[in-house]
Subunit: 455 residues, 4 copies
């Protein structure tokens, strides 16, 4: 069992697996196993002890739910976990049991385990963001010249291109991807400080051992233990939070474009996807819905993480213990949003005809600014503005085309010829530098792919 009913709309099976009991046990055991190996290689504990610990390091030997319940007696799963591991090792080699968790403290194993879990999450996120980047680039290129309404405060403003709109989403995703990359790189480090963050029980071998352990686990080695300095994790949670926000923005846009009355875009359909039991005519934007649900949830969770940073002295009373649930929820929600929007982008239907119809439905009033500029050259700004405002009002009142109203105004006909008036409401003619902006976004170099960064 991986996904629980209560977590419907909150995770995907793939990312849920990373936060499953099996995965967390694996990470905790991975820490203890690697610690034993590193200690054995430096002569801190006997090689035999390390082998016994290795043999006990299988998740299936442990009852995760019992450990979770027991953790209430110590406010950390590490204590029942180390006890259970010690008992397993004892079964294999009684003399080895005393060397389990040697030199480490509860928080060392708990923190390093969550870091290992985050490392697995990174790969999934990376993949979905890369899919999204690819699809959005394609969408943007394909629709470089597809005019559509730009909408401000949900009102028709001026024309833009769908290519630029897609490139805007892309730019945000790409920047987030770079920030996430940097934040993961900073956060994926070992926690190893012993009971007081001094590795006192290891004498002068502490840092040597720490470095070996970090290498064994494929993690960075920090300047010092960070038991109550959670800024690197907080920065990572924030990077996820900003990503969820950008994904939510894209989802909001597409869900608005998918309204029956707008109908400019539609999520991919598939057997059973987005349907309604009672209403066969419905096609719900489920991917956007899931991404928006994530965008609602993540900000408060980030806030929780930031609040919990105020951790007392060398181990917190509450702040630290609140983190696992928060991290798990932030990562899963953001991952769900990324996966959902990747799927949406890959199968998005774009209705260029409807886009043009929606522009036409404004009856040209969105070209009022353009008309003002054209008239201003000949008549001055103020006069131009007054004429245009009058024409807009008349157009709205009479339900007539703005350009036709204009064309009937003598003061306009004096200065604008028929050809110019005809062209006035061509969307393509009033896109400004949309295409420059679009190319600039699509061709922007993701910082995390630059040669001086390791993948």
């Amino acid at each position: 069992m991986v996904v629980r009913l209560i977590d419907s709309s909150s995770t995907t099976p793939r990312i849920a697996e990373v936060f499953s009991d099996h995965s967390i046990l694996e990470a905790m055991l991975g820490f203890e196993l690697s610690l034993a190996r590193a200690e054995a290689s430096l002569g801190v504990i006997p090689q035999d002890a390390a082998r016994a610990i290795e043999n006990a390091a299988s998740p299936d030997l442990y009852n995760a739910s019992a450990l979770a319940a027991d953790s209430l007696r110590s406010a950390t799963p590490s204590i029942p976990f180390v006890k259970a591991l010690t008992e397993q090792v004892k079964k294999i080699d009684a003399s080895a049991a005393g060397f389990v968790h040697w030199g480490a403290t509860s928080q060392d194993v708990a923190d390093t385990a969550i870091i290992l879990v985050l490392k697995k999450s990174r790969d999934i996120l990376h993949e979905d963001l890369a899919r999204l980047d690819h699809s959005l680039s394609q969408l943007s290129e394909r629709h470089a010249k597809t005019p559509m309404l730009a909408r401000t405060l949900l009102q028709a403003a001026l024309p833009t291109s769908f290519g630029l709109k897609a490139a805007g989403w892309l730019g945000a995703i790409r920047r987030n991807h770079s920030r996430l990359h940097a934040a993961f790189q900073e956060a994926l480090i070992l926690q190893f400080g012993g009971a007081a963050g001094t590795l006192a029980s290891l004498g002068d071998k502490g840092t040597k051992l720490g470095k070996a352990l970090a290498q064994e686990l494929g993690l960075g080695y920090p300047e010092a233990p960070w038991h109550t300095h959670r800024d690197r994790l907080a920065a990572l949670m924030c990077a996820l939070g900003v990503t969820a926000g950008s994904l939510g923005k894209m989802a909001r846009d597409i869900s608005l474009l998918s309204q029956n009355e707008v109908a400019e875009a539609a999520e991919p359909t598939a057997e059973g996807r987005g349907g309604s039991s009672a209403m066969p005519h419905k096609q719900n934007p489920v991917g956007c819905t899931l991404a928006l649900a994530s965008a609602y949830r993540v900000p408060g969770l980030v806030s929780t993480f930031l609040s919990s940073m105020v951790q007392e002295h060398e181990r917190a009373v509450g702040g630290w213990q609140s983190e696992w649930a928060t991290i798990s929820a932030i990562v899963q929600a953001t991952s769900l949003a990324a996966a959902s929007m990747a799927e949406v982008a890959e199968g998005l239907t774009v209705n260029a005809v409807r886009m043009r119809e929606n522009i036409a439905a404004t009856q040209g009033t969105i070209f009022a600014e353009r008309a003002t500029i054209l008239l201003a050259n000949a008549l001055g700004r103020d006069a131009a503005r007054k004429i245009v405002e009058k024409a807009v009002q008349q157009s709205v009142a009479s339900n007539g085309e703005f350009v036709e109203v204009l064309a009937e105004m003598p003061e306009v006909r004096k200065v604008l010829n028929a050809a110019i008036l005809k062209d006035l409401q061509s969307p393509e003619g009033y896109l400004g530098v949309a295409e420059e902006f679009r190319r600039s976004l699509v061709n922007s170099k993701p910082r995390h792919n630059s040669p001086d960064r390791k993948p």
Copy 2:
């Protein structure tokens, strides 16, 4: 399996059970079953169909994890659930399958299910808050006359009594209990509106059926469906949030009193409770730690719920779908905090001797205000203040007793006799109306127990 490792420090097995797959399936099936019964009794569907649905209404017949995973295709677990139920019913009685979920919409079953789950949660919360009320009342009575330091900004201020301190915690818990009671009463209502909130497919029988269904489920019947009006649920989440805050305040206080250097209180000890693997001398305040972890988590979750209230038209895109995870986390965290603090209060060790020693360690400087008042009668406020400030400074500088310093000042000896000076630093003599306040709190009548409220 009920509690997951990632939820260590976030829940108790008892409340986790309420949010388990089994419990949620039971609630969803409970809705469908009761709907079928009510519909059969009103002749809306055949009695045989209701019986077949009843026979399919066993949680064990369903694969919750598969339903959860499938819910990503519709952004709600209701659709795969109704499909699975329909298939089960079909196996029992093919002609009954068409009557499953008759007249209802996805949100009707999902919302009512979560309401039924909340109803179960209420009983657990009620029990733990009642335990806490009882223990704190006893603690307060027992220590009505135990003087201790009042501390402001973590600095010694004046004396107070531990009885008043405990009564302060009690007062907050009792008020929260009353607010929770009212919020549950308002929120525990049926959701039943059909696809558009009009029960259109039931003709004119909608409200009659709704009332029967509400009665069947033991829920209130609202004026109208509330698909996108989430204020009652939000108010309940807020009441839980305020409760978590009050529990956190109590936990913060006790964890501070438990510091080695203060040592005025200690959590109950028990085999394996609060110990440290590496440090046998430690006694960690685990109950307070868990309550504080909850107090860190709940505010952000409440914020999420409030954010998600902005739900579009007749069913939201994202706001609604974000709720389950949030509700589940708020209820479980608050419940864990209540259970933890009940356990702490029931077994709290209070060290009255140490309380007195900590007062004494201030060397009487905390009685400066009292000395000022006594001197002011004879010398006026200004003169009194200056003398006392001088005496305090001298006492601190010389590491001497404040009263002795005072007693050596001629201007003081002129107006205060030896007996008064001797009594000056008796904590009992400067408790003001602490006992009046204490009794007023302990004897306050919880609003939710008043005769005009149903339990």
Copy 3:
């Protein structure tokens, strides 16, 4: 100067005035003045002292900005404020200066001042919510029979009535109004406990004086001081938060209805309201925008307040000091939202013709559920569903009317006559119990107006 540029979109001049320096000084002076009066009447301080304090109690005598800056040296404005007041009193009557703030602590004046400010806020909120209640009731009655699309996940679902939609908003506002009323009533209480919450310096006169002071200020008198028990304030902040959420939901709905492509509603227009400098054709939904801005802001602020409830011992280190800015922001934002939506509701343009057109634009597919029910009577559920799904698909594919497609299917014609088919897509015929629900909401009795509650 009342509203600052940085607070554009965050407040109204009217509610900003309540949180202005003048208003806060007035409230702080009101506390000190009333304290002096009550003390003089009980013989605790001389009548002359009370008179001198009264004469110094004019806000214009104080430099608020200097007090605010000085407050950084004590982390509370009370200390510089009491010092400045004492100096003013000294100018009037040197012998009275020593009696300023007698028996009170910094938090007593700061907390009571904010409570007095909240009392002023209540009246403004009450007024705007009452306006909203009135307008929405009228809108709902007027449009009791105006059919419109119900939309779920932003997709056309089934018909509903605008009367029910408006009644839904009304119901939420009315429930919030009742909750706010109760929360204000609980929170509008005196804070008066002296340095340690025991009123020690007042001997045995503490509670007698406290009651007199509460009466003087028109506030309730609590069981005990509540310096670090902030649950009543927190509950009030939450009630405001839920209200902001409900106002945001209404604003989201109206902003969506105002889209050019939907055009079913429009905010009131007025000279200069909602215009765009560059685009004369635009009519921006500014009231909804402001209410939505508030709905974005308030949840995080409520979360802050809940977080800050974990206050240490008898006065907090940080939690308390964080409150003023948070309370001020929550109240002003919610008040702005209420005022904005009252204005929107009072002048809302409802386009019933367009509502009907938008229903028609679905080409009858939204009546698929209805068709299924009609066919099921004769053909059974399964057969009916299959036919209807086929007809919907065909209607969508051919861009034809659903009913016409149906009418051409022989199996349909066999069981449904022309009259029934003709009526099938009449919105009025498929509104279920919408009108029952609507009336139930409009006629619901606000709890805060019931005779057993004081206004």
Copy 4:
């Protein structure tokens, strides 16, 4: 007037000035002025018009409060601002008025203004963080060898050094400083896109003009306008949020060390700083209090910013309009925290004697782990543990020194000689690699000072 009473404990006069009306007007005028200059230099508007606009660009010519109040009619201050500027220009040169704000949209000036304000904030923050870095480095060096208790869950754990503790704070501050540096660098960019983000009214000169404008204002030039893509601002708000969290952690630690019962550290005293009106003996940790107040406030505000990222299409309905108040509060609170903790660090009193006394007060039980290791060499882990646990219990029960209890156990005396036992509870002997960690932190190179980064 700069700081308002309601903002006591929320800002400093220095950073408040940056968000004052004058400063914001200056920034808005700066945008319009630079735009006019850039446009004149490219021949887009006449040089005379630019000069007239320049002459109208003085903040003192405008009534900020009136603009703020008027902004409620358009949900942005830009519209009344541009109107007022146009009127001013008209007074100077009527023909120039039409060229005010040419080609720009309301959001261009509002966004760029807030970016310019953020730029000013950066310098203040940088300065305070640099002060803090300097002071903490010095504190750490000075106390490299000062032993003190490490405390986990507020319980005495093992010895550490104050040098390492200070270096831990330093490390977090330095990392935050680097992250802030990067986030400011990314966010300090021009907003300039015109009504639809295409600069349509400027024909093909849009990007050329944009680059000139960015250079004029000393801002970066982005790939494209970012009207509804707020990720860069969000990332900056997050970096501030994480910084506030780290400052709060430091403040919590110092406030705990300042408790009378611990007394290991004290904030600097100064005339009137941290005093209490009623209690002359008190020395309140006001700097920590203010920093903690900020740490309570900022997380919820960050959450608000993240929530508001879901902005519709080309200009948001609510999300954007909610930002100013949020940004202003986050920056001011974080800045206050940095300034407060810089002041605290610069004047911190460290009581090394008391640190040693608090270690001694544990009666050696904190050396239990060390005793276990020493005994384990000779007796094996299990036997060693049992002996030590017994000794700890006996020491606690008899209120005796742990080492003396040990020394009386025959099994211990057999394997540990008197010299080893004597040394056992020397804190200096059990600091592990604390000094290595400390140096590693103090010598860590802030990334933002590396040569490949511009200051």
